[in-house]
Amino acid sequence: MTALRKYVAFARIAAVQAARGRGELYGRMAFVAVILGVFSALWKAVGEAGMPIAVEMSALVWYLAVTEWILLTPAPAYVDIEADVRRGDVAYQLARPASYLGAAMAQGVGVLVVRAPVLAATCFVCAFAVTGRMPDPRSFVYVVPFGISAMVLIHALYVLTGLAAFWLGDVSPLFWVWQKLLFVLGGLMLPLALYPEWMQWLAHGTPFPSLLAGPGSFVLGVGSADAWTLASRLACWAVVITFGALVVFRRAVRNLQLHGG
């Protein structure tokens, strides 16, 4: 219980800081509003030429609203971890009676608590404003929990990327690569059904579709049967990412002890 309280404190502090950093939040809200407006115009034009997928234009805008909500909510934790490593702050943080990894995850959850509701409201209100339609309200029963689970996993991937700073120093290039893979293979802007078969096959070998396209597809009419599949995929990837983060962190600490921070 005491151990848990420590991480709750980390989460609370991060939540307070996220609430104060309004500039960034407003920036993300403005970005969502613009991008949904642009895509609404785009899908309208696509509709005139003949929709290449059997869903309505409004559903595709809602799909983008969900994927952008998931993508824009987590804070880029790799930046903080990289800075900790570069400045050497990580050395005294490791000596604290709390897990460095646990603290990083708790801080990410704290940020999500503040940002997720605000960005959800922005995304969904904007999507309604530009389409004038709502998806089946039952779809939100799946979108919200799966979306939040995906955000936590994306945050864990940010942390894992940040841990690479123990070897690489600058992890920005690594981040760019996996971020772009997330955009394309995750189906950020387009449902994967529109992709060529070889790209769909490639995408399903990665965690990315479970993080974006999976939760987003509920507003396209995907039902409860697929929810179980998505839940099991997310659970599997959670195990893989957690195990990977623990292994990488242990090696990083050993490396730090041998060579100094």
Partner: protein
Amino acid sequence: MVGHGGALTRNSRASLWRFARALFTTNLNAALALRGAFVTQTVFMILNNVVFFVFWWVLLRRVPHLRGWRLPDVEVLFGITATSFGLVVALTGGVRQLGQFIEEGELDTLLTQPKPTLLYALGIRSRASGFGDMLSGIGFLAISGHVTIVTIPLVAVLIAAGSTTILACGIVFFSLPFWIGRTETISRQLWELLITFSLYPEPLFGGVLRLMLFTVLPAAFVSYLPVQIIRQPSVAVVTVLLAGSAAYLAFAVRVFERGLRRYASGSRFVAFG
């Protein structure tokens, strides 16, 4: 302070040109000194642009055209925008730091130099990612099939006009701190909005938004008019484009000079390198 802004007209053009060239060469050498970082940033920017293009590639495989726009037209759009933007950040990468210079009183060091403050501030940085943008932009133009050996000079003029408009907007957006204090996020977002809108086909937008894209957020002068000229060459549209981008630059320089009159020193000594 005004004297430095006004000095643009007093210095001979040859002297200014030599100064600008020296700034760029120094920055390029500094960037190339960290060869690994330079190559990484260049390659990843190319990758970044290609990934964004995948969206259009996937979509236009399924839908042959969008209000008359086909895949080669989008390739030209990406080519013009990426090359123009790359040129700006490679040659005048300091534009993105202009707001920081103003907010934190870091213009002091530049004001003591016997060269135009704005030119110095703009040319103080060269970003390696700009070379990646330029390379990918040239690649998009090459595969589009719209550009031939004969039209290369025209395309170069169009890219120069697009770069001028992007730079002018950058100067205006990042000069906002002269009047309204800390605006880093707003300035950056306005600049990114300009680039975002420049990357979507013009016929998608109508009404008030379209008017905005031809005036306050002039994506039209960055990419829409250049693409229109490449698709259907017209002397009248070229004239409008060149006059418009020159007017935006003149306006931007004027805004910076007016802002410089309000500049309050940070009483800090900063070494730029």
